[in-house]
């Protein structure tokens, strides 16, 4: 059943939208990531103009992460204080990111930078996570006791920083500087690459801050929710390319998917979850590698200037 999207100015099949929304929502609820990095290419494939796709997906991410965050909140699996510090850093970071974005565009070859950025970033994070989770999976199979979660060296270095705050839920007593620093870095990356950055935030919380696995995903969803709500507003004001109907169709599918994802996540062990996320991250990295090195099916593309995108 086709539905006409008033901002995108074309019609797309309604069930296709709800279907991809549900699939991405499931992944979002399972891993605490937004899924925008998967959803946007799917929308582009169905003919939605790039600025509209990028802007509308932010609305969808808000909905799916709200749905997921509520479900984690009910289980007490969100560290609100940690989330607030992350969001604070993230908002500063996204302003910085928008500024850098303009700078890079002025230098030219922004496309190349974005593709290379994705590739290097996702490739390294994905392989690190993969290696770590496979090692820990193998260890647990040998029925040994779980390895110590804290690396002594890193922990003590974080403890020497000033402005320490106690995060009760996460059982952490650390400086706010690395917390806000991570938020800031992800804000920059998010604005540059046009993603929420959940798949970077989750490993950062796990490996750098040593946040317990039980609160990582809920807190990441809370962070995503706040940052993406702001990004959605910025898109609506700046480029006016948010298609509320498109976003709504995606939302309906994704909130349902996110619930199933969140409950499925409860049945998976932490290291299994990390291995699966690593697989997805590596998959996306591979996709960018392919677009970088393989000639596309159609080497020529056309876009309307002045519709969310500068000349």
């Amino acid at each position: 059943m086709p539905i006409y999207l008033p901002i995108a100015e074309l019609s797309v099949d309604l069930f296709f939208l709800i279907g991809i929304g549900a699939a991405i929502g499931f992944i979002s609820g399972l891993f605490g990531v937004g899924g925008g990095f998967l959803l946007t290419p799917l929308l582009l494939f169905s003919g939605v103009p790039a600025p509209v796709a990028v802007a509308s997906v932010t609305g969808q991410v808000v909905a799916s992460s709200t749905s997921g965050a509520i479900s984690y909140f009910r289980r007490g699996a969100i560290d609100l204080k940690l989330g607030a510090y992350l969001v604070g850093g993230g908002i500063l970071g996204s302003f910085a990111g928008v500024w850098i974005f303009g700078l890079l565009r002025a230098l030219g070859q922004l496309d190349l930078f974005i593709s290379l950025g994705y590739l290097i970033f996702l490739g390294s994070i994905g392989s690190l996570m993969m290696a770590e989770s496979v090692r820990s999976l193998l260890r647990s199979r040998k029925a040994g006791p779980p390895p110590p979660r804290r690396l002594p060296g890193q922990h003590s270095r974080l403890q020497t920083l000033p402005l320490r705050v106690r995060f009760k839920k996460s059982k952490l007593y650390i400086s706010v500087l690395p917390v806000m620093g991570i938020g800031f870095a992800i804000g920059i990356i998010g604005a540059l690459l046009g993603i929420g950055g959940g798949f970077i935030l989750v490993p950062a919380l796990v490996y750098i801050l040593r946040v317990p696995g039980s609160v990582v995903i809920g807190t990441s969803l809370l962070h995503l929710l706040a940052v993406m709500a702001m990004t959605c507003m910025l898109h609506a004001i700046q480029s006016q390319s948010v298609d509320i109907l498109l976003a709504f169709c995606l939302m309906v599918g994704s909130v349902a998917g996110a619930q199933f994802g969140a409950s499925a996540g409860q049945h998976l062990k932490g290291d299994q979850l990390r291995a699966l996320l690593a697989l997805i991250v590596l998959g996306v990295a591979l996709r960018f590698a392919l677009t970088l090195f393989l000639p596309p099916a159609d080497p020529f593309s056309m876009s309307i200037v002045g519709f969310g995108e500068g000349a």
């Binding site: 509520i70 939302m251 909130v255 593309s301």
Partner: protein, 253 residues
């Protein structure tokens, strides 16, 4: 000041009179002066039709003439990019900007243009997609193949139409053509021009126009996004929060 206005008014009147004299030879109209887009819009085919007043304005009464229909949709700036492999990676190597390129353009005629028009007339850039594209290209025409790629991409999207056999005669003087509008048709004013050709020369022409626009809820949304972006963004975020919350409540377990 008033003298200038008077002069301007005279020019306009003379121009209109000239146009009317030229338009006398052909009547041109369309089936849907307002194409409304509803939520289930998947494109529409509209009919353009007309009648040639034979014997007027140089039109032979014998019916030995041809019709060209030009349809121009609202314009926007478009950019075409070509990618190529350099140093092992794919780079944007070429691009061209087209200023005020019609978002919809159709050249439909009763017989192929080259057989019905004298060479001098055929050179008019309005009469072919290639000419139109070359004309709107910024920085002048260039021979890098991007013009052809633009035409190909636009034609694949159903936004450029070129047909040498698209106008049919219902009688000696009555003609009609069907115009497919895809679902991605740009919203705005469309102007269609019917040109009567006899002995290789344009002898008469007339225009008809129609509007494509969203209606009802879709129109409300499109206007809100442009006129009240702050409220619109807020509404989107609130809708997202509400939907997410609803999902959380409905699927509570």
């Amino acid at each position: 000041m008033s003298r200038i206005l008077l002069a301007l008014a005279t020019i306009v009147i003379v121009a209109l009179a000239g146009r009317a004299a030229l338009a006398q030879g052909v009547v041109f109209a369309n089936s849907d002066p307002l194409v409304t887009i509803h939520s289930n819009f998947t494109g529409q085919t509209m009919t353009l039709f007309g009648n040639v007043e034979a014997g007027q304005g140089g039109v032979p009464a014998t019916g030995a003439y041809d019709i060209i229909v030009l349809v121009r949709g609202p314009a926007s700036d478009r950019i075409v990019r070509g990618r190529e492999r350099q140093f092992g990676i794919m780079l944007n190597t070429s691009e061209a900007v087209y200023r005020r390129l019609p978002g919809y353009y159709a050249v439909i005629s009763s017989r192929p243009l080259e057989t019905i028009l004298a060479e001098t007339v055929d050179a008019d850039p309005q009469l072919s997609l290639a000419g139109l594209v070359a004309q709107t290209r910024q920085g002048g025409a260039a021979d890098d193949g991007l013009d052809a790629e633009l035409i190909r991409l636009m034609s694949e999207a159903g936004l450029f139409i070129e047909s040498g056999r698209g106008v049919s005669f219902l009688s000696n003087t009555t003609f009609a053509t069907r115009l497919p509008l895809p679902s991605s048709v740009p919203n705005g004013l469309f102007v269609a021009r019917a040109i009567v050709v006899a002995n290789g020369e344009i002898v008469s022409e007339n225009i008809t126009s129609f509007t494509v626009r969203t209606e009802g809820f879709e129109r409300f949304v499109a206007r809100a996004a442009r006129n009240n972006p702050l409220l619109y963004g807020l509404a989107t975020v609130l809708l997202a929060l509400a939907t997410g919350w609803m999902g959380g409540v409905l699927f509570k377990r």
